[in-house]
């Protein structure tokens, strides 16, 4: 014979177990709904289809060490950084093709990102040439117009919007590791990137390179990647040929 108090305790424990089971199921449902609600609220925008535009690529040719201008119709985004990445991606896709005149493996995925920054800081004591002036071999100071009569804040804002830009091209480590070694082939890659950026984004006057987000001494043992390249270094093919 089961005592009365044990029956009561058993009943209470059973009721508590059922109540806890119901509560747990209810909490699980709420958590699931919250998760779904959170996913829905993520700011995802539908991909935009960019209109096709004419892009200018300076394509390297190993056989005569030249850069040849090539025009292609590409869907280019409006954002300058994304535009630069798209154009360089196409350039590297050409180099990764089996019959490329300048074969470099990797393709478009070798460009991690392209950052565009104001090219020059204009100090109060800076010189004021109307055209690019080489301060030394590594850096260039490009000063537009007469800056002396304008407040520096307004000038820096104006320079940021219309002034020359420095493009920082971040390449993958795999691209640098698999790049063919040689002075000519490495310089052609560097110059074709510089020239292509300047041809499509004329405000880009200087280019720097990073590999996996860090500075690297050379591309594949020869071309110096620690310096700032001038877009003017990428001269047309006729001027490169002997």
């Amino acid at each position: 014979m089961i005592p009365r108090y044990q029956k009561i305790i058993f009943g209470l424990l059973l009721a508590a177990s059922v109540a806890m089971g119901v509560t747990l199921w209810h909490l699980r449902q709420r958590a699931h709904e919250r998760l779904i609600a959170g996913q829905d609220s993520a700011p995802t925008s539908a991909p935009q289809i960019a209109p096709s535009e004419q892009a200018t690529l300076l394509v390297a040719n190993d056989s005569d060490g030249s850069l040849l201008t090539q025009f292609l119709s590409l869907p280019l985004p409006a954002d300058p950084g994304a535009r630069a990445r798209a154009v360089l991606g196409k350039l590297l896709d050409l180099y990764a093709a089996p019959d490329a005149a300048h074969p470099v493996p990797g393709g478009a995925s070798s460009i991690i990102q392209v950052f565009l920054l104001p090219a020059a800081d204009i100090g109060p004591g800076a010189a004021n040439p109307a055209k690019p002036k080489l301060a030394d071999s590594r850096t260039v100071v490009i000063l537009p117009g007469d800056s002396s009569a304008r407040p520096s804040g307004a000038l820096s804002q104006e320079t940021e919007q219309t002034g020359p830009q420095l493009a920082v091209v971040n390449l993958t480590g795999a691209f640098a590791a698999n790049h063919p070694s040689g002075i000519e082939t490495e310089m052609l890659t560097v110059l074709s990137i510089c020239g292509t950026l300047h041809a499509n984004l004329p405000r880009v006057t200087q280019v720097r390179f990073l590999v996996d987000g860090a500075q690297r001494s050379t591309l594949a043992g020869h071309a110096d990647l620690t310096r700032t390249y001038l877009a003017a270094d990428a001269v047309p093919a006729e001027e490169i040929r002997p």
Binding site: D62, S63, D64, G65, L134, D136, S137, R138, P180, S181, G182, I183, E184, T185, M187, S217, A220, G221, H222, A223, D224, T226, R227, Y229, D233, I240, R241, P242
Partner: protein
Amino acid sequence: MHWIKWALATLVASGMAAQPLAAQQAPSAPQARFVVVLDAAHGGDETGGRLANGQFEKTFTLALSTRLRSLLAARGIQAVTTRESDAAVESEKRAEIANHAAAQVCLSLHASESGSGVHLFVSSLPPAQLTRFPAWKTAQGAWVTRSLKLAGVLNSALQQASISTTLGRTAMPAIDSMTCPAVAVEIAPERGALNETTAGLGDPGYQARVAAALAAALVEWRTEARQQ
């Protein structure tokens, strides 16, 4: 007193005799030393590119440096090398060796399977005034004009040897710090009109032709330097 007069007379006579002798010796005074620095690129762990015959670039450049040094020695030109063995040499050290040698020519030797013929590269630094204490990373700026002339002489000699050439400018830490006329010489296989290889980097005949043409160019450069 008599012996003092005799000694003075002897001294005066010997001094007078020495003047014409010195005058005779002046035209045949030893000419300024002509030193060439041969910089075999890469070395040690830094192998450089891998060539078609499986050889590393560092091995090829060292062999070319040795061959060229022998050819220059046969022509009475002193050559200083940046490395004599498979040793790693930093680019700063290479420039340091070249600058201490006070050389009239600095050749940085490279090899590549890309392209065709011999590629001649001069520093892309803008021409600058020669200063007493040039900045280390831009020291070549004061020599760029002379380096371009040297590239022209090398180009002519290589073309006379029927070797195709490509001229260009480059940014390389080693030659950017050199205080001498400096050219980076990159040897690639010879290719025909259809891009087929007519003479590979492993071809001894091709290597000999390139080395002989470079040596001939340096002899010509020495002649020009002595005329100036």
